[in-house]
Symmetry: C2
Subunit: 426 residues, 2 copies
């Protein structure tokens, strides 16, 4: 049957297309494919790119940091100086305002929130003794962020986003008038899942916020800061520069990690904030641990040497990832666009494609894919409480499968979107 927009089809044509789609679905199920695309997981070929990291600090090598500390032993809570310099360079931050930790930036985010909850920051009552705590959540967003703020009992408020980032008028209104609003989750570069890069105007609007709560902080998760998919990436304004210019240096906590640069299981996470904030947090972190894995920190520094080399290394990831993103986008363009089905972004970096199925069909699409052998991120996961009010957004994570498997998965995905849309129209 010719491809044309569903709304131009007669009832008979739609019925015929649904029959055809169901047959295609059944044929696909018969293949008994098993593929998990639920998470933004690097492919094995990407992990192999940094195989030599494992040899970067061998037995007998000098295991002493530039400040003279044996990285094998206890101490140096805030991380080794050379790692601070490396990550500061990547973020455009001051090395004195860096904290280098373990393998998980999510754990760092959890930890700084835990400190606000248990002990309180900036002279405020701990959240656990405040009546109500609210968190702003630009949507669609990252489910693990929402899980963390939910864990600490925060009421989560959806903030719509467009191609420039979160709705800053709404953010300003809430942050500046409601002292229960304690934070906002941001993925400023190649956002999870929308791929949006916050505009400089958005970053400046964040830096200019005058929060009603002294213990409000922007949680700036710069997870994809150098994870470009294009040859000439944009150079967004850094939160550091914007906040310095606005005279508002204490308002943000910034995070990054090498989880998607080296190894997700064994990378290095970093945290950046003002010296004032850092001093406060350090005291609490020093009760939790004597220090993080400095051998792995030094291993990373020895492997990369400089931030420029780390940036250059990302080109190798791009070479592996860009074809996967193109395959997904081409398939959507070819299989769904002619039917007028769905909307999606064309990300210039990051790990995801954000797909909007016809309203009310996302759950069904995910279910059909699952029963067809492909596990996607759960529908609704990109919203707080797992509740997408439109039941529309689906996060596509194309990085882990091979191109061949990804092609199969996308074939199924497009069948499922058609199937669910036509079924709904009946």
């Amino acid at each position: 049957m010719d491809k044309k927009p569903l709304q131009t089809m007669s009832a008979d044509e739609k019925a015929a297309l649904l029959r055809e789609t169901k047959e295609a679905y059944a044929a696909f199920q018969a293949k008994a494919l098993k593929l998990n695309m639920a998470r933004g997981v690097p492919g094995t070929d990407q992990l192999d790119l940094t195989a030599d990291l494992l040899n970067a600090l061998p037995a007998g090598a000098d295991a002493v940091s530039e400040t003279g500390d044996d990285v094998r032993n206890y101490g140096v809570l805030t991380g080794i100086a050379e790692a601070k310099k490396l990550f500061a360079d990547i973020l455009g931050a001051n090395p004195d305002e860096m904290f280098i930790a373990g393998n998980s930036s999510l754990e760092l985010m959890f930890t700084v929130m835990q400190i606000s909850f248990v002990r309180g920051i900036a002279g405020c009552e701990p959240w656990c003794r405040q009546e109500k705590v609210k968190f702003l959540c630009p949507v669609p967003g990252y489910d693990r962020h929402f899980a963390v703020s939910g864990y600490f009992g925060a009421e989560m408020i959806n903030i719509p986003t467009d191609e420039n980032g979160p709705d800053m008028a709404m953010v300003k209104e809430l942050v500046e008038n409601d002292p229960a609003v304690k934070g906002i989750w941001c993925v400023p570069v190649y956002a999870n899942p929308t791929g949006i890069v916050y505009s400089d105007e958005t970053v400046r609007a964040f830096a200019a916020l005058k929060p009603a709560a002294k213990d409000f902080r922007i949680y700036w998760d710069n997870a994809y800061c150098i994870h470009h998919l294009t040859e000439h990436p944009r150079k967004p304004l850094t939160i550091n520069q914007a906040c310095a210019e606005a005279g508002n240096p204490d308002i943000f906590y910034q995070f990054m990690s090498t989880s998607k640069i080296t190894f997700p299981g064994a990378g290095v996470a970093a945290f950046n904030t003002s010296k004032t904030n850092m001093q406060e947090l350090q005291k609490a972190i020093g009760i939790m641990t004597i220090g993080y894995d400095k051998i792995n920190q030094l291993r990373h520094v020895r492997f990369f040497g400089t931030a420029d080399k780390m940036r250059a290394h990302m080109e190798k990831h791009r070479a592996l990832l860009a074809p996967k993103f193109n395959l997904v986008l081409d398939t959507l363009e070819k299989e769904l666009a002619p039917y007028g089905l769905g909307k999606w972004n064309r990300p210039e970096g990051g790990y995801f494609i954000s797909f909007y199925a016809p309203k009310g069909t996302a759950k069904r699409v995910v279910q059909l894919c699952k029963e067809g052998g492909v596990t996607l991120t759960g529908a609704g996961a990109t919203y707080p409480y797992g509740n997408d009010p439109d039941d529309s957004n689906i996060r596509i994570a194309p990085t882990f499968p091979s191109l061949e498997k990804l092609a199969q998965a996308m074939e199924l995905f497009c069948i499922a979107v058609k199937y669910a849309a036509l079924e709904q129209m009946q």
Copy 2:
């Protein structure tokens, strides 16, 4: 002057000895020694024992766990199966009841306490919503333990200890009658700092506790479980066996790490508790992190192979540490015993010698040592709130310095004890 008990000396003799001691102290100060003995830190020679650990998982090696997971990638929250087996064997636990984490057992203790505080366990209200939380602290004990329970606002209650462990009548009385008592810190083997190994009777008394609070747990920090200083170490009853026999499997959380087996900065920490407890805690930990460093877990498994090999490896540590402990003990015996000054233990393992200076002099001894160039653990640190009611206990940490430096430090220490005691008698 002849060495004899101070209490048998005349006032003149004591005055003369104080003058002599002050001269010795001044002579020592002139040497301008700088030595930090504040913490239980392995010596560089100990770190070199596991240098080859850094080569145990090189580039190109099979990086797949026995369950088929690529250890370089995300996931496997509770740790790789082969690491669970290795650590379970060391603890005498069930591999299904093990959780293998990052580089810090202290952080694990903090984390499980955080879960009780923020979310609550065993169906109880979170601690943050309970009026009062109390923690039992066998003294002298480990300052970092006290800092953790203090962080969560617990009122800490001193529990006296003798050569069999904590005063179990007092523990039973408090745990079984006061629902505000939520936990007790235990270092059951070569306790920090007393070196005590809990007797089997003590372990059984712990296992038999019937807490008033459903969310009471024993925090069993088995940090020194295989850190023997004698050729034929005792084989204490495990908490696992005792609790299984008592039908009380959910009452304990057990911790260990390889911080003092491989590298303090980059070892592997493990946590052991019943399946019921584990399921509850896992859910909360899974919000905090996607997983720990499995590369380092596999690296440790590949390096050691078996628990027996890990135990055998500890003999190499003993060869380096036993002479240091003997030097300290011999010096105390020679320099202080004849004056009837001080009491101390002769540990069969662990990292510390617990020294009792004459009442009211510990702070002064530590100050004199500091001004003489040797930093000791702060006086009072071995008690909650840093408050040793007798101002007597000092933790001696002999592991880090070379034998030569340790001899100098102990010379100063003995001078300082004499100095402070005589000064006090004036």
